[in-house]
């Protein structure tokens, strides 16, 4: 692999295999079987065996699921309205309590609590969820697992709601694992192809690593607080800490362990590698689970237990660092992806990194703000990408697209909105949420300046890869094979959600404008709304480090810088790529190693395979063969062998000769006599 051209050829083959093999094959099982094979070079042909099934009773799945979501959304709205009407002092209300597990010392009770934080989450989950349900009806039409899909999807929403509504950390964990399960099932939804099942397994196991850490965290909390009730923990933490400063260290570990769990679920370094693979699932799943909701559960957890994290500035800095690094690594990776969903996936990881960066500064409400806006525009982008894939007959490689704006205008326009929001073009939702975060980071000073620098760099890259994607997909020459098919616009059931989400992506910034906008209009709905939840943490933080407020001039400068960078890099990218894929090819030609390094997300996944997965596999085989088979079982069988071989030796005594037998008798008799006399 010395020769650059050779390397490139190999790489291209690989990319092709990946793009094709990992193609999201959408609904077109029977009708486009020939084309499916064209990209299905891994030899998976199983899925073609099934003709599209008759809708039958399965056809009911869609209306039922959507109706359920609709009811759920309406109820959520009602709950939020009720919550809002309760006033400043009653910040939550609760369902009846279910005594789940009696541990003998304390009882783990579960109830559904809605407070200001969960109300935001609930709205996002049911709202975005509803739209995605509607969208899926069109996207999944004709799939043999149609009904199963909606069952899983509804189950997911149930688990996600359980996660955000549960009053107890363990109840939260039920949802936490529940969404993991649904994620596993949905990633592997097209299991006949093989690798989606593998991707699902990878996601589950990676999540489990985080969950193990989560469990330890929960044990520590039980040890410290004697309960798993979230509001009890959050409420009593400050008091307890004041009474017993020595628990700081234990709190640190508890927080660290829970953060470990969050890393798994929210795809942070070092556990982020499952999320790009999770794109094996149907695209609506990617939108709902792997962009808008589930992956933000980690953010939710940290905000939910914000005093625990706020109690320790070092922990916060650690979280911020992890977030920033994740944002940066994933951002660089997204720069060179060819698979449209992969770009979005790495972008999601990167944006999640932003959220953790926000958490790291103690800006809990900013994290939730970005969570919300990200849910809108990333869902929009994924659904848009889904629409593209759908229209392109499950082609995901952007190098084989181009000029699609001509064929799918609605998709194009909404996608454009999403891209603008993601890249932080001024006055769109992403602009506000991202700059709020960067502003907070800058305000912390000290080591945070470094993180801020990384954040700015990432913002630049975000703008770059977003517009590269737009340009490659919707502009430039048509690189697909027009003889075989004609890209087409998606049905209304798919475009309608796109439009609604586009609206949200544009307007989402209104949830919370930067403080400097006070001169014009004071809109800090979200921050105020969340204040009862985040106050405890903020107060703790201020005790340690004092408040950090930015001067207005600085803030203006930062805002301007953000806008400038976004616009600048968006422009550059768009111009470089609107004419075709030459720039990409140049990149890969110029320094294939670096390109490949970026393409493979800094080789982290490979490193895991090499350093963890393979050794574990080898170790398991070694244990089974050497330790178990040879040593332990060898001991057991050896005992049997020893018995047999000593039996063979004993056998020689029985020579059949009377004299020998007599000799033995005489000998032992004499021995007994001697011993008796000796021991007299």
């Amino acid at each position: 692999m010395r020769h650059p051209a050779l390397l490139d050829a190999a790489l291209a083959r690989r990319l092709g295999a990946q793009a094709g093999g990992h193609g999201d094959h959408g609904h077109a099982h029977g009708g486009h079987a020939d084309h499916g094979h064209a990209h299905d070079d891994a030899g998976h042909s199983g899925h073609d065996e099934h003709a599209a099934v008759e809708p039958g009773i399965g056809g009911l799945a869609y209306p039922v699921a959507v109706l359920a979501m609709l009811v759920s959304f309406v109820l959520s709205l009602a709950a939020v309205v009720k919550l809002g009407s309760l006033g400043e002092h009653a910040v939550s209300f609760e369902s009846p309590v279910w005594h789940w597990i009696d541990t003998g010392v304390f009882s783990i009770d579960i109830s559904m609590v809605i407070d200001r934080l969960s109300s935001v989450m609930v709205l996002i989950i049911t709202g975005v969820g509803l739209l995605i349900h509607v969208y899926s009806g069109g996207y999944m039409k004709g799939d043999p697992g149609y009904a199963k899909f909606f069952a899983y999807l509804n189950l997911f929403v149930f688990a996600m709601l359980m996660l955000v509504l549960s009053s107890s950390l363990l109840g939260l964990f039920v949802g936490w694992e529940g969404v993991g399960l649904c994620s596993y099932l949905l990633i592997g939804f097209w299991y006949e192809k093989g690798w989606p099942a593998e991707a699902g397994q990878k996601a589950f196991v990676m999540n489990r690593i985080g969950d193990a850490s989560f469990l330890i965290g929960s044990f520590l909390l039980v040890h410290l607080f004697g309960t798993l009730d979230l509001s009890d923990i959050a409420g009593s933490l400050a008091e307890k800490l004041a009474a017993n400063p020595g628990m700081q260290l234990e709190l640190f570990f508890a927080g660290l362990c829970l953060f470990g769990g969050a890393c798994g679920k929210s795809a942070q370094i070092p556990l982020f590698t499952w999320l790009p693979d999770a794109m094996a699932g149907p695209t609506p799943v990617s939108a709902l689970i792997h962009a808008a909701t589930m992956v933000t559960a980690g953010v939710y957890l940290v905000v939910r237990l914000n005093p625990l994290f706020a109690a320790n500035p070092n922990l916060l800095f650690l979280i911020g660092t992890v977030g920033a690094l994740t944002a940066f690594v994933a951002g660089t990776t997204a720069l060179v992806q060819r698979d449209i969903k992969k770009v979005l996936a790495y972008s999601t990881v990167s944006q999640l990194g932003y959220m953790f960066l926000a958490l790291g500064t103690g800006a809990f409400s900013s994290a939730i703000f970005h969570l919300a806006t990200h849910a809108f525009f990333k869902a929009l982008l994924f659904l848009g990408a889904g629409s593209v894939i759908h229209g392109m007959h499950h082609e995901q490689d952007m190098h084989k697209m181009g000029n699609l704006r001509k064929y799918m205008p609605q998709t194009f326009l909404t996608f454009l909105v999403g891209a603008a929001a993601l890249s932080g073009l001024p006055l769109l939702s992403g602009f506000f949420s991202k700059d709020e975060i960067l502003g907070h980071v800058y305000a912390q000073g000290g080591g945070y300046y470094v993180l801020w620098g990384i954040g700015i760099l990432t913002a630049a890259m975000t703008a770059f890869y977003t517009w590269r994607m737009v340009a490659l997909t919707f502009f430039g020459p048509e690189r697909f094979d027009k003889k075989h098919f004609q890209p087409h616009e998606s049905p209304l059931s798919m475009t309608l959600p796109l439009l609604l989400l586009a609206a949200l992506a544009i307007l989402g910034g209104a949830l919370s404008f930067p403080p400097v906008f006070e001169h014009f209009v004071r809109v800090e709905y979200l921050r105020d709304w969340l204040a009862p939840v985040t106050d405890a943490g903020t107060r703790l933080l201020e005790e340690h480090a004092g408040a950090h407020e930015l001067e207005h001039t600085t803030e203006w400068i930062l805002l301007g810088l953000g806008a400038l960078i976004a616009l600048g890099f968006a422009h550059t990218a768009f111009h470089r790529f609107k004419s075709g894929i030459a720039t990409d090819e140049a990149t890969f030609q110029r320094s294939p190693l670096r390109a490949r390094f970026l393409f493979e997300a800094w080789g982290i996944d490979k490193a895991y395979t090499l350093l963890v997965v393979q050794p574990v596999r080898v170790l398991a085989l070694m244990i089974a063969a050497v330790v178990d088979g040879t040593l332990i079982d060898g001991f057991v069988n050896g005992a049997a062998q020893a018995a047999l071989s000593s039996a063979a030796r004993v056998r020689t005594m029985a020579s059949g000769r009377i004299a020998t037998y007599g000799l033995w008798m005489g000998a032992v008799t004499a021995l007994i006599a001697i011993l008796l006399v000796w021991n007299r």
């Binding site: 032992v668 007994i672 008796l676 021991n679």
Partner: protein
């Protein structure tokens, strides 16, 4: 002999105490007469059974008779003796029943066979009841001489004769050892009465006495076949006619143990062991080594009879552990109770197993593991009985053998010989290794040989098998049957 002397010797109690012995001796003569007198040959079997029944009646009656020494110190009657006698009689009965229709060319000597068996039984009773060394020695010879002959009973077969000769040569050697030992003990103590010896204290630990006891114990070890006095066992068991083997494996062993218990003071008024205390660990280790040797020996056998012979050695080792514990057992009659139960179960188990072998042999020659394959399909009841015997021999509850094992190891534990007990129980694992081999062959492997000989219906053997199996199960479920009579 004056009438006074006769009256003094033969009191009613003494007569009851000696009743089994007398019955057996008389029975032996009557059977012999039936052979000689013309037209009475058909009486042989009823006479034998009657004799056993009469002796058994005497023994059972003996449970109520007062314990004590009779015949001026030759014979000691105890309830344990009655129990031992019952065991001997059962052993003889089982061997006799399985011996029906076993012999072919030797059939004309069947009356002699029965006479020898009854005489041998008389010898056993004498051994168990012996109160002095002389009475024991005579009992021993009365037991042995007929058995030598019975072992060589199929005199046209060289292996039978070899078995008889081997048994005889080594038996005579052991008898010589016993005699020399008895002489040394007598020299040291001035008495041949065991009762008298038991109170002698330090005299019993003089070198002369110790050497004597070593020789006596050596000869007893030969009879009960413990390591390394067991080497004859597989050879002789293999060569001897199988019903005789059953008899040897159960009865002879029981008699040897009965006398060992006497030497351990269990049947003496003083209750004190005659054998020196320092022998405890020696005997204990011999017991454990015996278990090992027996079980290991059995492990590699393919001939079932030889395997059972070695297994018998291992069982002797187990039983010897109770003897070894006798010095320090806090339960005065612990060893006696344990061994009686053990033997009671063993008589039916080993008797039944050997008996089944005899039955199968008469159908198709030698019984090997190979020939057992698929037995459960051919002869389900027979296989089931054999499985019961094997599991009981292995000491699996709820079968009789388990409680025997439990009681014996209880003795060892009470005597604080826990290491020996642990090693001992672990030897059972090896034992199960080969008992299971039999079950595996019968139940889990397909038939590999042709069995053309067909089934020989033998009512006596079938009944005996059934009864043995049932008793083995019953002893396991309701050990109180026996235990309460011993307690």
């Amino acid at each position: 002999m004056s009438p006074q002397l006769l009256q003094q010797l033969f009191t009613a109690d003494a007569l009851w105490a000696l009743a089994p012995l007398i019955a057996l001796c008389l029975g032996a003569m009557l059977v012999l007469l039936s052979d000689i007198l013309p037209g009475t040959a058909g009486l042989r079997r009823p006479l034998f059974l009657l004799t056993i029944a009469a002796a058994a009646y005497g023994a059972v009656h003996g449970f109520g008779a007062p314990e004590g020494t009779y015949m001026m110190g030759s014979f000691h009657h105890s309830h344990a003796l009655s129990a031992w006698t019952v065991i001997f009689l059962l052993s003889g009965l089982i061997a006799f029943e399985f011996g029906q229709r076993y012999y072919k060319e030797e059939a004309r000597f069947l009356a002699e066979h029965d006479v020898l068996m009854l005489t041998s039984l008389a010898g056993m009773v004498m051994m168990a009841g012996a109160a002095d060394l002389l009475a024991f020695f005579i009992g021993l010879e009365t037991l042995s001489v007929p058995l030598y002959t019975l072992a060589g009973f199929r005199r046209a077969r060289s292996d039978s004769v070899e078995a008889g000769l081997k048994y005889f040569m080594l038996g005579a050697f052991a008898a010589a050892m016993f005699l020399y030992g008895a002489a040394l003990v007598y020299a040291a103590t001035g008495t041949i009465s065991i009762e008298d010896m038991s109170g002698m204290g330090s005299t019993l630990t003089e070198p002369l006495a110790l050497a004597g006891f070593a020789l006596i114990v050596g000869s007893l070890f030969f009879k009960i076949s413990v390591f390394p006095f067991h080497l004859w066992v597989p050879d002789v068991y293999q060569g001897a006619p199988t019903p005789v083997t059953a008899f040897m494996a159960t009865g002879t062993k029981a008699a040897g143990f009965a006398f060992l218990l006497t030497l351990m003071g269990q049947n003496l008024a003083s209750g004190k062991p005659v054998l020196p205390e320092s022998a405890a660990w020696i005997v204990g280790w011999i017991a454990v080594i015996t278990m090992a040797a027996g079980n290991l020996g059995a492990l590699v056998q393919t001939d079932l009879k030889r395997m059972l012979a070695y297994s018998g050695v291992a069982h002797a080792g187990t039983m010897l552990l109770a003897i070894a514990a006798g010095w320090h057992d806090t339960e005065p009659h612990g060893a006696q109770t344990a061994l009686l139960f053990y033997m009671a179960a063993y008589v039916f188990t080993a008797g039944g197993a050997f008996g089944l072998l005899a039955w199968m042999e008469s159908e198709g020659g030698e019984v090997t593991i190979e020939s057992l394959k698929g037995l459960s399909a051919r002869r389900p009841m027979l296989a089931a009985a054999m499985a019961v015997f094997m599991l009981s021999l292995g000491g699996i509850p709820p079968l009789g053998g388990f409680w025997g094992k439990y009681l014996v190891f209880s003795c060892a534990v009470r005597a604080d010989m826990i290491p020996l007990a642990v090693i001992g129980v672990l030897m059972s694992v090896i034992a199960l290794g080969y008992y299971l081999k039999v079950i595996v062959a019968m139940y889990m492997q397909p038939q590999t040989q042709s069995h053309s000989a067909g089934i020989s219906p033998r009512l006596a053997a079938a009944v005996a098998t059934g009864v043995c199996a049932l008793v083995v199960v019953a002893l396991g479920m309701l050990p109180s049957w026996v235990l309460e009579r011993l307690g």
